[in-house]
Chain length 424, copies 2
Amino acid sequence: MKKIGVAILGLGVVGGGVYKVLTAHREFYMQTQGVDFTVESVVEPRIERIEALGVPKEKVASNVAEAVLNPDVQAVVECIGGVELARRYVLAALKAGKTVVTSNKELITKYSYELERAAKAHNAGLYYEASCVGGVPIIRTLLDGVQSDEITSLMGVISGTANYILTCMEGGNSFEEALAKATKSGITEPDPAADIEGTDAACKLALLSSLAFHTKVSPQKIFRESLGGVTKEDIEDGCRFGYRLKYLAIGRRAHAGLELHVHPAFIKKDHPLANVAGDLNAVYLTGEPVGEVMLLGKGAGEMPTAGAVVSDLIFAATHGEHRYSPYKNTASPDRETAFAEDFASAYFLRVNAADEAGMLSKISAILGRCGIAIESIFKTAKEDGTAKLTLITRPSHERAMKAALAKFAAAGHITVESLIRVAD
Amino acid sequence: MKKIGVAILGLGVVGGGVYKVLTAHREFYMQTQGVDFTVESVVEPRIERIEALGVPKEKVASNVAEAVLNPDVQAVVECIGGVELARRYVLAALKAGKTVVTSNKELITKYSYELERAAKAHNAGLYYEASCVGGVPIIRTLLDGVQSDEITSLMGVISGTANYILTCMEGGNSFEEALAKATKSGITEPDPAADIEGTDAACKLALLSSLAFHTKVSPQKIFRESLGGVTKEDIEDGCRFGYRLKYLAIGRRAHAGLELHVHPAFIKKDHPLANVAGDLNAVYLTGEPVGEVMLLGKGAGEMPTAGAVVSDLIFAATHGEHRYSPYKNTASPDRETAFAEDFASAYFLRVNAADEAGMLSKISAILGRCGIAIESIFKTAKEDGTAKLTLITRPSHERAMKAALAKFAAAGHITVESLIRVAD
């Protein structure tokens, strides 16, 4: 029986979960994996957490160095959070030749090059499934499940908070009510802005795109648009065209380079991503030769995330060698990759205009002059003499749509009330 | 650069696909995986296949032994199909210490013990992702993605044909029309009965359950019910209760043992499996600590299946050691596992009865005497003096439902027109 001593740095939600899982399922892992995991050391300043989890006193290290350098420890779980301290501790563990498993998305997004280099240099393992879409084994799948695939696009519902908000809004809540519910239920990040503005999703998209497209992407390269502007009316209008509204993270290999964007997007109701509801997450891959693959699960939470950490521990313990990210681009981030900023999408557009003869032709002429064709259109006359027009365009470049918006503004009597991308 | 010479036994749909993928993506695998795959040997009696694929003459072996024992070959892809010959060839390759990747479901279901033993004894690798739900990396996920999970249930839409038929029936086709469409489109197994009667799905469920529940299951232990009996009326009736009809494969760890069944089943419309349409496949896992995870993709087809074979080849080439199925039960199949035959489900029931006072009470009394409670009920009066009753029961044991059916038959004037399980 292989014995693996584990040190857990930080007994917060995830670290505490890892302690519970390793303790509760110890027998199970011995039986099914042939590995005996014991928690040999924990680092946690809050005595109440140590007591609540029932960690034996003699397993509590007085500092990180003591835990990491403990000769009974072969694997270090980093759940401290933050970036700079975590980086220092992870580097220390890797330099001591220990396997490191981390749930720290910011750390991996920012320092994965440096950490992988250190891991390779010291023949140590570095694993981070839990750092991205917690309970969904998407990193393992990208590394070891669909490696035969030249992935052409990756689409994700990877903000549980945003998805929860949209699900509430479909149920009749306003954006503000839905956000309040999400905050109250505790599923938001400490600062909900990271969810609503897409910075958290962009971080995850950077990490997943790096693996899917075999390059290194920094979150700064990712176009973001807030979920904040969407309304119940948008959701209802899109529904008439057969769409559901999702907050999507999209990475796509296009002719001009990688297109990476996070924004609200309509998606056909029968697309597998359209039915990912509540706080579930999902990642949908398209490639050659595999075609389409989707993984769905809980994106966060104590137990799903702790489970991902432990799956990494088992992988490291049961596979002899360490394996790193298969980046073709092994220099510094972004250096060798072309990023396309002017990507193309179909658009949903809601326009209010004076309901008079020639209005439709005026609107379609403006779009036409910008090279934008209309796919389908609804018109509703209002009592105040104006009309509401909702329309779906054919795929058009961002630049073309910006030009059209400027022309609408200049034309007068035409107000663009809503503009939302449509994913294909 | 690691060099791996590959032999492909059989250039049928899958074997031919593997040849195409390895040839077309060779550069890509060199760049992203650091492995140079070359097809060193093929065995295929049909010259026209060899010519169509453009295999160089000098790579065509005159027999299997020549291909397998070729010193330039490190990995053997078995796509011959059938069982006994394939078994002999795979054993020969394993005994020569070669990695074997197979897409042969029947072979693995029937002989995995013997093959794994031979693989271990000769330090050879044995991989079979492609044998089960082709383009969905579910075997890798069970082995190396959610290993921390004590899986409590596994539900799958794993018959592409059955799912395609049900999707057509939702679109208005009768069962017969839908089956004819499926046969015409070429997605059925050579004998569509294997799809309709669930023998093919049972084979897959046996394999997946073996991995998910860390035991060894033979398909004979699996309860099966044909898709053949379902009607458009069933689908419409279930819809009123908020259900969609799927052909489900279910494995569940219950108190009395493993419950394994394949049958038509209603499932709530908002369940992720309910929206798996057309020829897509999906497997939905529930466990502790990970919670719920679903994988979705193409279950069959040349390219998805060939992609799965090549992902296995890459896994074997990039991971130093070989890893086998983590069966706790390492003796012969089924010996140490308890199987529960009397499993519990909720039921959908359509009953036709004389529309007279006391009829409802009579029906509910019969169910009640068998310990079956009613969850919800619709009644529709008909012009011929009878009434149609559709109802959903609370979870009830198979045995109880059989007893109730006997009582209905004995009571007279009550015809059970349809009885379909409801998955939770």
